[in-house]
Amino acid sequence: MAGLPQPADPLRHSHGLEQFFASLGGQEGLRVLDLGEFTQANVIFITSLGHRLYSEDLQQALEQTFGAGEPAVAQSDPQRVQQFLGQVLQFPREHFDAVLVWDTLERLSRPILEVVMERLFLILRPKAPLLACFHAESREDTLPAYGFRIADGKSLQIHSKGRQKLAQSFNNRGIEKLFDRFHSVKFFLTRDHLREVIVRR
């Protein structure tokens, strides 16, 4: 598709990422949760800022529990849903100073999403930033899947991981409603048809 990043795409500026790290205010020793791919780039960057990184690849957890089938169907098995929810985001209240969600929320069916949102709210400290990405609204059956690698505090390298069906899509109003318990929601539209959303708990 025109405008979508190719595997060898160079770095691109990310307003969402810039705001995310700016809101950490140059502090050290914070607890940052990354719910995306476990990569050298993200680990090194975040730990080089003096923070402790927690990694939990939600996409991998989904695939291990539900397989690689269509999310709306695969995630309808109540037993597997309980199994998945029993192992993800098991952290104490207000444990994290920041969380990188990337595009994982789009892959969760509604019942799972509701529980995950509740847990994200509980495990974040007040005013903690959360960065999420959502595809721009599309009528296509499948959408590109991406991996996100932090190059620096303002730049991302986004690599394509093929195409897949999402569990659900969101318009802007839907995203606002998703985060209605949170303090604030700010949108940035990118040229690769993603919406970067910075949320404050």
Binding site: F38, A41, I44, F45, T47, S48, R52
Partner: protein, 181 residues
């Protein structure tokens, strides 16, 4: 003539046996009371636990160790390299100078210098290390704490490139690794 050659060809020559301690004692040749060592294992090879071995308890080592079996408990080897082979499964706390993971570790890991988590490896637990190298495809769940090295050769932890040694996990190599998928 042909028959003689056949006898020569088929004569089984006895293989020389190593001298027994009794024969050495008779000849007055000094001998060690320690078991005979095979120089092949001393020349750089580490101790190893094979894939059919299951060990439960505390394991302390004063040499490099390769584990391809199952270990449950604690593995401690502060000054040496631990390699967890592709069949290796550790349900244990681990302390080592360096660790290379090709298999699975469930447990907290404390590393004096560097940990490498290879493609297809799985690590669930908290990591405390000076340096970390991650190959694409590795699975990790837990926390990572980069500590400052105490020795003068330690790399500073704030510079992004200093926490990684030249390895397949550098960006160029990562791209190369991805192209193999």
């Amino acid at each position: 003539m042909w028959n003689r050659r056949k006898e020569e060809e088929f004569t089984i020559k006895p293989t020389p046996q190593p001298p027994t301690s009794a024969s050495l004692a008779r000849e007055g040749i000094p001998m060690s009371t320690l078991p005979a060592r095979n120089p092949e294992f001393e020349s750089g090879r580490s101790a190893s636990i094979g894939k059919s071995v299951i060990l439960k308890g505390q394991l302390f080592s004063r040499e490099d160790l390769y584990i391809d079996g199952e270990v449950e408990g604690l593995v401690e080897m502060q000054e040496h390299l631990l390699t967890v082979g592709p069949n290796g499964k550790l349900a244990a706390g681990v302390k080592a100078r360096d660790i290379v993971v090709l298999g699975t570790i469930h447990g907290n890991v404390e590393v004096g210098d560097k940990i490498e988590i290879k493609k297809d490896a799985k690590l669930v637990g908290d990591i405390k290390t000076v340096r970390i190298v991650i190959e694409d495809g590795a699975y990790f769940k837990g926390s990572i704490d980069i500590t400052r090295a105490e020795t003068s050769k330690a790399q500073p932890t704030r510079a992004p490139q200093s926490a990684a040694s030249p390895s397949p996990a550098t960006p160029a190599a990562s791209a190369a690794a991805e192209s193999k998928r």
